[in-house]
Symmetry: C2
Subunit: 246 residues, 2 copies
């Protein structure tokens, strides 16, 4: 057992810090419940890092932990629980073609959604309303960063998320719908379609607006727009209800 690691020069420390900051090929999941759920979902940890020896003794699975001294562990994460652990995982890879196969429901595309909390909340909504997955266009926050993972409340473990280009989305063969205040006050599609949600300030980009059927959500005149996650909640919930009525 590698225990009581206290140096910031330690290779595991550097690797986990890199995964938290950059979330490139490797990502982290924080907390015993979340790591345990990830393993139950079929994810295999590269390493499990515990905060001290006490947390190592209570691990519910049979993986040799890497034990960090509490001070070193606390330098990595905002989680301030004495029993805490971090799982280091390979970043999951889904393919856009797989998402396009589930045509009975809608596919979500996000266009420049910058706030990781919004991206994670929409991943959670994709699970709640059984969307085929989430396609991230350029300019979106990474769905595998710590804030987005927390906001997804576990849904990141099983909702397929892919990065796509505008050309890939425009050529995907499904009709595009986009949430836009200039759209019609109509129901969203219940399947066989993409629903695009846009940037927090600028909305959906012109290129997609021109190619999409625009859907507006009825509101009072007192606001200019809704928060993007609120728009997604309303349209995806309605889409799911309509699918149930088919």
């Amino acid at each position: 057992v590698t225990k009581n690691i206290a140096s910031r020069q330690n290779a595991w420390f550097k690797r986990v810090r890199e995964a938290i900051r950059e979330h490139a090929e490797e990502i982290v999941i924080e907390g015993p419940k979340a790591v345990s759920d990830a393993i139950a979902s079929g994810w295999t940890p590269i390493a499990t890092i515990t905060r001290g020896e006490e947390a190592a003794q209570s691990l519910p699975w049979n993986i040799e932990p890497v034990i960090f001294a509490p001070e070193l562990f606390d330098a990595l994460t905002e989680t301030r629980s004495p029993q805490s652990i971090i799982g280091l995982f390979e970043r999951p890879e889904a393919r856009f073609a797989e998402l396009l196969e589930r045509r009975e429901t809608v596919l979500i595309a996000l266009d420049g959604v910058q706030d990781p909390g919004n991206v994670g909340t929409i991943v959670r909504l994709a699970a709640a309303f059984d969307a085929a997955g989430v396609a991230l266009l350029p300019g979106c926050a990474d769905a595998f960063g710590p804030k987005a993972i927390r906001a997804s409340a576990g849904a990141i473990l099983y909702v397929p998320v892919v990065n796509v280009t505008y050309d890939e989305l425009l050529g995907c063969g499904l009709p595009l719908h986009a949430a836009d205040t200039a759209g019609e006050l109509c129901d969203p599609p219940s399947g066989e379609a993409v629903i695009v949600f846009g940037n927090e300030g600028a909305g959906v980009s012109d290129e997609l607006i021109r190619a999409a059927t625009l859907i507006a959500i009825p509101t009072s005149a007192r606001v200019e727009s809704l928060n993007v996650a609120a728009s997604a909640a309303i349209l995806l919930s309605r889409s799911f209800a309509l699918r149930g009525q088919r």
Copy 2:
């Protein structure tokens, strides 16, 4: 003109810092657009603090600013804009009785909603779907803290928000409805009612659950619950649509 204040011992600095941290009798609004909107909404600033002299020269209104040296200003706020300003205001006071007068629409009550981003987002939804106001039960984040104000996207300026006790809510004379996964899959009321949304983890407290009609939102079996702001978006949007059909 009081200009180029650079000391952390300055009385205005201490007073604004207190308002940002404690948001008790005095609160702050950050950014030229938001402060300008607040003044347009009839709020009167106690003071307008600018980041340096340049920001002071571009103020669109006729109020003598308090000019902070940029370094001192930056110690107060996360806003990192060279033209930035902060408005110090008295905390607005609404009365619960006033909110109860608008019976043609629903009143929102939040029960232990801890995250200021969720409270602010729901204030924004109250504006979007023309609710009578937002009543905060014990355990809620303050709607007048900086994070909640930002999440409200300006709606905090005109949506009435009050703190209430459980007894006040239970005795308010309107039927109570609560969002709860154990409820019926039915439509929310369109008026003459309170809709309660609960804590991020524990949901609505038992005392209110016993007194309320419980409404559930149809979801797939893949999630245990929805984010509280997502639940509010879905039920308030539906309530607003039903009111339009009356």
